[in-house]
Symmetry: D2
Subunit: 347 residues, 4 copies
Amino acid sequence: MEQEKKAWEEKPKPLIKETTDAIVRITKTTICGTDLHIMKGDLPEVADGRIIGHEGVGIVEEVGSSVSGFNKGDHVIISCVTSCGKCEYCKKGMYSHCTDGGWILGYMIDGTQAEYVRIPHADNSLYHIPAGADEEALVMLSDILPTGFECGVLNGQVKPGDVIAIIGAGPVGMAALLTAQFFTPAEIIAIDTDDNRLAVAKTFGATHTINSSDGKAVEKVMEFTNNRGVDVAIEAVGLAVTFEMCEAIIGAGGHIANIGVHGKSVTLHLETLWSKNITITTRLVDTVTTPMLFKTVQSKKIEPRKLITHHFNLDQIIEAYDTFGNAAHEKALKVILENNTETRKRQ
Amino acid sequence: MEQEKKAWEEKPKPLIKETTDAIVRITKTTICGTDLHIMKGDLPEVADGRIIGHEGVGIVEEVGSSVSGFNKGDHVIISCVTSCGKCEYCKKGMYSHCTDGGWILGYMIDGTQAEYVRIPHADNSLYHIPAGADEEALVMLSDILPTGFECGVLNGQVKPGDVIAIIGAGPVGMAALLTAQFFTPAEIIAIDTDDNRLAVAKTFGATHTINSSDGKAVEKVMEFTNNRGVDVAIEAVGLAVTFEMCEAIIGAGGHIANIGVHGKSVTLHLETLWSKNITITTRLVDTVTTPMLFKTVQSKKIEPRKLITHHFNLDQIIEAYDTFGNAAHEKALKVILENNTETRKRQ
Amino acid sequence: MEQEKKAWEEKPKPLIKETTDAIVRITKTTICGTDLHIMKGDLPEVADGRIIGHEGVGIVEEVGSSVSGFNKGDHVIISCVTSCGKCEYCKKGMYSHCTDGGWILGYMIDGTQAEYVRIPHADNSLYHIPAGADEEALVMLSDILPTGFECGVLNGQVKPGDVIAIIGAGPVGMAALLTAQFFTPAEIIAIDTDDNRLAVAKTFGATHTINSSDGKAVEKVMEFTNNRGVDVAIEAVGLAVTFEMCEAIIGAGGHIANIGVHGKSVTLHLETLWSKNITITTRLVDTVTTPMLFKTVQSKKIEPRKLITHHFNLDQIIEAYDTFGNAAHEKALKVILENNTETRKRQ
Amino acid sequence: MEQEKKAWEEKPKPLIKETTDAIVRITKTTICGTDLHIMKGDLPEVADGRIIGHEGVGIVEEVGSSVSGFNKGDHVIISCVTSCGKCEYCKKGMYSHCTDGGWILGYMIDGTQAEYVRIPHADNSLYHIPAGADEEALVMLSDILPTGFECGVLNGQVKPGDVIAIIGAGPVGMAALLTAQFFTPAEIIAIDTDDNRLAVAKTFGATHTINSSDGKAVEKVMEFTNNRGVDVAIEAVGLAVTFEMCEAIIGAGGHIANIGVHGKSVTLHLETLWSKNITITTRLVDTVTTPMLFKTVQSKKIEPRKLITHHFNLDQIIEAYDTFGNAAHEKALKVILENNTETRKRQ
């Protein structure tokens, strides 16, 4: 049974392996939908006993000999993507495909749902938190905000005056919703099957919401846009049905920006789309916009704290997973796990 | 039987209908793969008796009262796309979606495979040919060169040093091949099932060719690129199998640019592509680059004449269709139909 | 004496000259800083007796035979730039350099500070106003909002998280200030010599203001940015001293976007700037973003009404000029001139 | 006297200082115009006894403990710009402004005109040379090709069909000339005061040449372009007169790309340029395109060897400087200095 795979265990404190590593004491971390997939066994490549989690803020405990940008005691944001800063992909800003990194944290190497974590290529994978910042809010910069922004908003090329649709009002859809407003679209249509999430989407800036449970979402979007379709459709679910909804509502010249993690192929209706001058993009978050997003947070242009709905202590992690795993019912977006203990814990 | 739909008939000379129209006496025209589709009945929306053809050069015979850029006697290139220059789409350079134009010539209105043709919105849909130009070569600017360039090369974002693959070495693939070289890719892999076309592709600038008949094209491309895949994959066929070949050979961060006219949906492998940071584009040619392409032809940076393999008189059009319809066997790319007669003819 | 050049006179109602013209009955117009320059004689190419004014909204009175997009009775925004939609520049979206248009209204041909105005190339130079819109606010779309947005914000490439400076808090600087917020810069520094205007700038979204009267503005900006300089400097005055201030405060990799109308050359400090990776842009507004801006106004993302400080009847135009000519003292930004009369008036 | 500053002296072999350093044994180096400026004392910040030179290829002799991409014995291209790969500027691809690098080689630290050189941040500042490559030609990738390409061609946004002018046919102008052809401009006008260089420019791809000695270059360019001006003007000299020539010949909507190192300010004619929609760029080469350029060299799209006119042994460096310092008379572009000795030499 998958559920039994989940455990909060004693583990030895991680050690510096490479001169470019840092050890960070986690102060706050969170759970991602991807963690649920790992728990369910959807990613069988994850080794047994792996500490998962790829988000968090903390305090640098120790740095390798060639780390130049961070020192013991520095408060840091941990990026979900590890970047060597040297390879061909890193040089192009495609950190997600770093040949000695990418998304490895809490996946191929031990992650952040623990008291300590080893961060490879620390100089390029950590970000400084200045004194006085709202550290809890900055946990949202580890993954969810850059994911919504890079894969959804930037790839979708949201422009002032656009009509955009966001399919999926879970945490990542909400991150796209918040960051899409950086570019002042005229209308933001949030589509989901959960009325509570749609209500929250409205408070986050959606101008219209559609509950797609009745199978009439496409019809409603086309009516709303006078049959022109939307300028940008952001897929934030990861299912064929939601991707194909994007295909059905996209207007001529529009952009479909996929964020969702897809386990299966989808049908691409080239028989209608071939002549519609559309662009479809996929992306594993590069976290290349973390510095930009940090500036928008510090200048209060966005309030990432809005995404946080629940708080737990790190040793209540099983309970936190239960809450997050039952997100719709619990009205959960992101849950914060706080490390308040002096004692080391293992997951 | 479809074949019998084809006829070369007497038709009345077209008349000015709108003040923005021009009547052009065709001097040279050609046949497009799309014309074959119409002949076969694949586009049932084409009215019976329609004169087809959307390419050609000619001499202005008469202009409507509000045409300001052209006069009787001017030599002109006819764009396959009609553009009003006023609507929202035209203002964005998306002439293909002009609300009073787009691709209508030889489709929704009578076209160029005739002695005379009525061109709506003449000021925005014709281009001047200066004295001394190679008019026959300029027939390639009506459709095929902008199609290969806009849908394939520009949408594919070909860059210096790139490794690109062009799937399909028919006329439009060849146009992409010729115009891709404007941006100096390092390697151009041409893929087709016809050895003769691949041999021609080599003379047109392909650095490598692959005959995909043996089902090993993907394997060969991956071997050639050390398993990285290509930077740009241009689909110039219009079949699911060739589009899916593009999906299989595209490298992380790459661009798939669809040119092909697809009659059926394809399978999009998001289960592997979701994290590959790729971009897929579709486009009906806008002919927005015709002025740019004209400059490259005039300065001899490209020789469109290379695409012309056969010549016929306009009244040999049935024979020309037979040749073009049997292109692989006839080693045909583009066939030129010349209007040498004084007598009016109808198709 | 220049002042005496100004007069409000009876003039014959303009007539359709070309089939592409429209005659518009002005309902609301305004005065631009450029009009003051014309009045002062700074633009000697302006013919004697010319009706000036290039902004306004109105109702279509009559259209030429080839105007297809507008009919008598339509409510319209008049663009300050006339665009034929056909020439090489219009096709590139550079309407300002239209070979049969550009900025001609109230300059080379009679303008909008009158009861009626003839608009050449009406289809491309007018924009529809839907029923129920705030027409007065839309006067700001004729010139000032696209000018601030295109020349300042778009050319300056304002990005989320940027630190930007706007030099000059007159109407056009304010338009840049309002539209810069479409892209969510972190900090907007407004610089002017007038404390009242700076106070207004704060209410319009400036996060910092600097009164440059003491000659210490550069020093203050550099201190504020920890000697890095700003990401974008927008010049909205038109003097050497303000342009050179932009050169002094621009950070490495930054953009200087000139909006100001300059009568004299400036000193470009290439001895320091050659290695700073900066970009300097100039632009005469193209009004190519009018449709985009219209959408942002309709969706209430921006309130152009904020720019309107005074109201006059059209026959109080002399008084209106006095107020606008004395803008700092009168705390004037834009003044609205309303045409309430049935009687024709001449300027 | 400046000349006496130049000396070829014994110096100790450099040592690894940081874990990210490499020591490279120079096999081939060259002289840059900037080296002449240093010799003349134009850059007084250069310390006495400094080994100059910032270009070259060589063989890795030793690497610091945290260098991961290079090993002893690797053949490498040395970039003129040192990049840490970690700082804010490096992450944006602006290596020239690296906070722990930038252009420091042969300027703030000892350079390449020696038998051995210490290269800081080796992983990001060296590039692998595969077996069989033309190493001499690759010396051109250290500085001159990326400089011409990035500062001139990319910043100038050269497009297919453009008319471009390159002012200055010295080595860097020639590098711009060669790399501009990656984007297939229609016409390339080379302007210089030396007929020999103009003759060479023709063989390198210039379609027109103008000797500007008679003061009529602007007139000739305007005549050639039917008074429209050029699309792109590339300044490759570094004088006010040549920059102002660019201002005089630039067409509406055009780009002026400065490459030249300017010691003095220039006059920017905003009184005419404010309304011409032009873009002016400056840039210190970032060498961010070195991997791209390397691919174009390896695929023989460009032959950098063309830029090499003279060869010397490294111990003939004084003679080499004399030749290069007298470039016009000696018909010199780039001179190669070969390190054939076993004995260590000092400069």
